[in-house]
C-alpha cells in the first residue's frame, strides 16, 4: 500500500519585509551583506494589529481551510489532525503548551471525530507528521489525516535584530525566516499520479544541541541560537545522501533509477540549497535534478518550507503535472531523511 498527498493548502500573510529593511533596523552593522550571502530578498510577516493578529493558530487554520477547499474530505471526515507548529503562538504572542493546537484546530474546523495531537520536531515537523499518518494509514488504524502548521516565526528575527552583537552571533540564521501556514491531507493512494513512494527519517542526536529555540532572557521574544559552523559542516551535509544511498542499496535501487524530476531542500538559503544538492550529486555520483527554491521571496518558513515550495511551484505552473519530487528535511535534532512523492494536484492561480 502507498499513501499520497491528497490535497495541499497554504496561506501566506500579506505583510512583506525585505532583508534590507530588517537589517536596517539592527544596531549591529554586519561586516557582510546578509542578502547577498543568503539570496533571500523578502519574507512574509504576520499582521500584528490587535483584532487582525496572525498568530500560528490563525495561519495554520487558514492553510487548513485552503487545503480542505480542494480536498474530497470535509473537516468532519478527518480521522486525525496533527499540528506541527514550532512557534505555537496565539493572539498577542502567547506561546501555548496546553491544550494542544490540534485540539483548537479541531474545534475551529469542526472536525468532530478527529484524533488530535501536536508534534514537535523542529523544521522536520510537517514531514514527520506525514510519516506518522503514512504509518497509521498503512497499519489500518485510520483512513486519512491532515498535517497543519502555522508558523508565526519572524518573532525570532525580531529578537535577533535586537540582540545580535557580533559577526559570529548564533542568531544570524534567525534573520532568514518568514511567516506562513501550510497543510496537507494524506490518505491511501489510488493510482500513480499521486503517491508517496518512500518516506524515511532519522535523528542524528549528536547534534541535538546545535540549534536551540527558547524564550530569550535578554529581550521579551523567542530566540533561536544556531551553531552554523556545526550545522553546516561536511559531516552534516553528508548525512542525508549517505542515509539515502544506504537505504537505496538495500532496496536494490539507485538514485538515478528513481527518476526524480525535482529536489526540494529545506529553504535555508539559496546558497545552502545549491551546496546541499551539489554535494549530494558527488555522493550519488549523478547529475542531480533541479533544486526548487522559493526562499528568495519567502525566506525560510521553518516547518512549512517544503510544502510552500510544492504549493507555489504547482500554483505558478513552475513544475509539470505528475512530477516526482524528492523532499529532503534538514532540521534541529538533527533530523534528516528523504521523501519521494509524485504530485499531480492542481492548485489554481
Amino acid at each position: 500500500m502507498h499513501t499520497r498527498f491528497e490535497s495541499l493548502g497554504a496561506f501566506l500573510p500579506e505583510g512583506r519585509m525585505s532583508t534590507a529593511e530588517l537589517v536596517e533596523r539592527m544596531a549591529f552593522k554586519a561586516p557582510f551583506n546578509i542578502e547577498d550571502i543568503t539570496g533571500i530578498h523578502n519574507r512574509r510577516v504576520h499582521d500584528k494589529r490587535p483584532g487582525h493578529f496572525e498568530g500560528s493558530l490563525v495561519l495554520g487554520l487558514a492553510a487548513a481551510r485552503d487545503c480542505l477547499k480542494r480536498s474530497r474530505y470535509r473537516a468532519e471526515d478527518l480521522d486525525v489532525i496533527v499540528s506541527v507548529s514550532i512557534s505555537r503562538m496565539k493572539d498577542g504572542y502567547e506561546l501555548c503548551f496546553e491544550p494542544s493546537f490540534a485540539l483548537e484546530l479541531k474545534r475551529l474546523l469542526g472536525a468532530t471525530k478527529a484524533i488530535t495531537f501536536d508534534l514537535s520536531n523542529a523544521c522536520a515537523g510537517m514531514m514527520s507528521g506525514v510519516m506518522l499518518l503514512d504509518q497509521m494509514i498503512k497499519a489500518g488504524i485510520v483512513k486519512n489525516g491532515i498535517v497543519i502548521s502555522g508558523e508565526c516565526i519572524t518573532t525570532i528575527a525580531e529578537t535577533a535584530v535586537l540582540e545580535i552583537k557580533e559577526a559570529l552571533d548564533p542568531q544570524f540564521g534567525s534573520l532568514t525566516v518568514g511567516d506562513s501556514g501550510a497543510a496537507v491531507v494524506v490518505d491511501e493512494a489510488e493510482d500513480d499520479a499521486n503517491k508517496i513512494h518512500h518516506i524515511e527519517m532519522l535523528t542524528a542526536a549528536t547534534g541535538a544541541h546545535f540549534c536551540i529555540g527558547k524564550p530569550s532572557d535578554a529581550t521579551p521574544g523567542i530566540a533561536l541560537y544556531t551553531d552554523n559552523k556545526q550545522m553546516h559542516n561536511e559531516d552534516r551535509v553528508r548525512l542525508w545522501p549517505t542515509f539515502q544511498m544506504n537505504l537505496m542499496e538495500k532496496w536494490g535501487t539507485t538514485f538515478e533509477a528513481e527518476k526524480y524530476d525535482y529536489v526540494v531542500q529545506h529553504q535555508v538559503s539559496v546558497r545552502a540549497i545549491q551546496n546541499f544538492t551539489k554535494f549530494a550529486g558527488k555522493v550519488f555520483n549523478t547529475t542531480m535534478p533541479e533544486a526548487l527554491s522559493i526562499c528568495e521571496e519567502y525566506g525560510n518558513t521553518a516547518t512549512t518550507s517544503h510544502f510552500i515550495v510544492l504549493y507555489e511551484s504547482l500554483r505558478n505552473k513552475r513544475v509539470k503535472p505528475g512530477s516526482k519530487f524528492l523532499l529532503v528535511p534538514a532540521a534541529s535534532g538533527l533530523v534528516t531523511g528523504f521523501v519521494g512523492v509524485t504530485v499531480s494536484l492542481e492548485i489554481e492561480k
Binding site: P99, C211, G213, K214
Partner: protein, 295 residues
C-alpha cells in the same frame, strides 16, 4: 499479534527539577529493565509538556536520545539509526504515542519504541502553585506474537466553552523578558470535577463499546489529585483496588501518570482474575483518551 509493554522506568527524585533529567533517567531505567543495551531503540517519542526553559526546538526527544547515547550519528559501525520526536497532547499524550508507536511496530517499520515523558516547571525549581510533580516515566514497547497488548484508542472532547486548564507564556514585544522561566496556568475552579466526568464517561463508553468486563479490569487513570482514583472507582461502581491511585509523589505526575500507575501496579502484583487494564488519560480541553491493554 499485539503491541506490549516490555518494560517501564520511572524517575521521581524530588530534589531534581529538570524535566529532561527525569525523562532521561526514566528512559535509562526502562532500557535496563527491558534488556536494551548501547544499541538503543528504533523510535523514541517524548510526550512531556513542561520542559526546561520552555524550549521549543529541537524536539526534546532528540536531546533525550543524545543523553541516552545511542545511534548518535550515521553512518555508524552497526549501520542503524533511530527516529525521535515530541508528541504533545497533555495528560493523554502517552496514549496517542502508544497508538502512533503501535502503527510503526505493526508495520515492522521499527522493532522497538520508547515512549518517554518528563515534566517540571520551566524554571527548574519548586514553584508554589505549579500543580505538576517534577517526574519522568518511560515505556518500552515491542510487538508480541500472542494476543496480549493494546487495544484500540478512543478519544472524546467536551463541548464546554472553556478548556479547563490552559498553559502558556507571553513572548510579545510589550512583555517582560523571562518567559523561559515562567508558566502561566489558568485552571477553572471546576476543572477536577470535569476531569472526573470525562474519566467516568470514558470508562463507561469504552467498556460498553468493547464489551469490557470491568470486574476483570483494573483502571489506570490520570492522577490530577490524591483522591481521583477513589472518586472514579465510586462513580463507576468499581472496587477501590480496581482503580490505581499513584502514591508517594508531590503533585500530579501529568504526562507520566499512566506509566507511573502501570509501574506501581506491576510492583504490587496484578491480582488474580484480572485480564485487562484500561488506561484513561484526562486533561485540558477537556479531553479523554482511553485504551485497553490485554494481559
Amino acid at each position: 499479534m499485539g503491541i506490549i509493554i516490555k518494560s517501564t522506568g520511572v524517575s521521581a527524585d524530588a530534589s531534581n527539577f529538570s524535566a529532561l533529567d527525569h525523562a532521561v533517567i526514566a528512559g535509562r531505567r526502562a532500557f535496563e529493565a527491558g534488556g536494551i543495551g548501547s544499541e538503543g531503540v528504533d523510535l523514541l517519542i517524548n510526550v512531556g509538556i513542561y520542559r526546561d526553559e520552555n524550549m521549543v526546538e529541537p524536539a526534546m526527544a532528540a536531546i533525550i536520545q543524545k543523553a541516552l547515547g545511542y545511534r548518535l550519528d550515521f553512518p555508524n559501525a552497526a549501520m542503524n539509526w533511530s527516529f525521535s520526536f515530541d508528541l504533545m497532547n497533555g495528560a493523554g499524550g502517552m496514549l496517542n504515542a502508544v497508538q502512533v508507536a503501535s502503527a510503526f511496530l505493526m508495520n515492522d517499520k521499527v522493532k522497538t519504541a520508547l515512549i518517554v515523558s518528563g515534566d517540571a516547571h520551566p524554571a527548574k525549581a519548586a514553584v508554589p502553585g505549579f500543580p505538576f510533580a517534577a517526574v519522568g516515566a518511560a515505556m518500552l514497547l515491542v510487538k508480541s506474537d500472542d494476543a496480549r497488548g493494546f487495544g484500540s484508542l478512543h478519544t472524546a472532547m467536551s463541548d464546554d466553552a472553556t478548556r479547563g486548564l490552559e498553559a502558556s507564556v507571553m513572548c510579545g514585544p510589550a512583555d517582560k523578558p523571562g518567559a523561559a522561566h515562567q508558566m502561566n496556568l489558568r485552571i477553572d475552579a471546576n476543572y477536577e470535577a470535569r476531569l472526573l466526568e470525562a474519566a467516568v464517561s470514558a470508562v463507561r463508553t469504552y467498556a460498553q463499546t468493547h464489551g469490557l468486563d470491568l470486574s476483570r479490569t483494573i483502571v489506570l487513570p490520570s492522577q490530577p489529585s490524591a483522591t481521583f482514583a477513589r472518586d472514579l472507582a465510586r462513580r463507576c461502581e468499581l472496587a477501590a483496588d480496581h482503580v490505581v491511585q499513584v502514591t508517594g509523589l508531590d503533585g500530579d505526575p501529568h504526562t507520566s501518570a499512566l506509566a507511573f500507575a502501570y509501574a506501581q501496579l506491576q510492583a504490587q502484583g496484578i491480582p488474580s482474575g484480572i485480564d485487562q487494564l484500561l488506561f484513561v488519560g484526562v486533561g485540558s480541553g477537556v479531553t479523554s483518551t482511553c485504551i485497553a491493554y490485554r494481559l
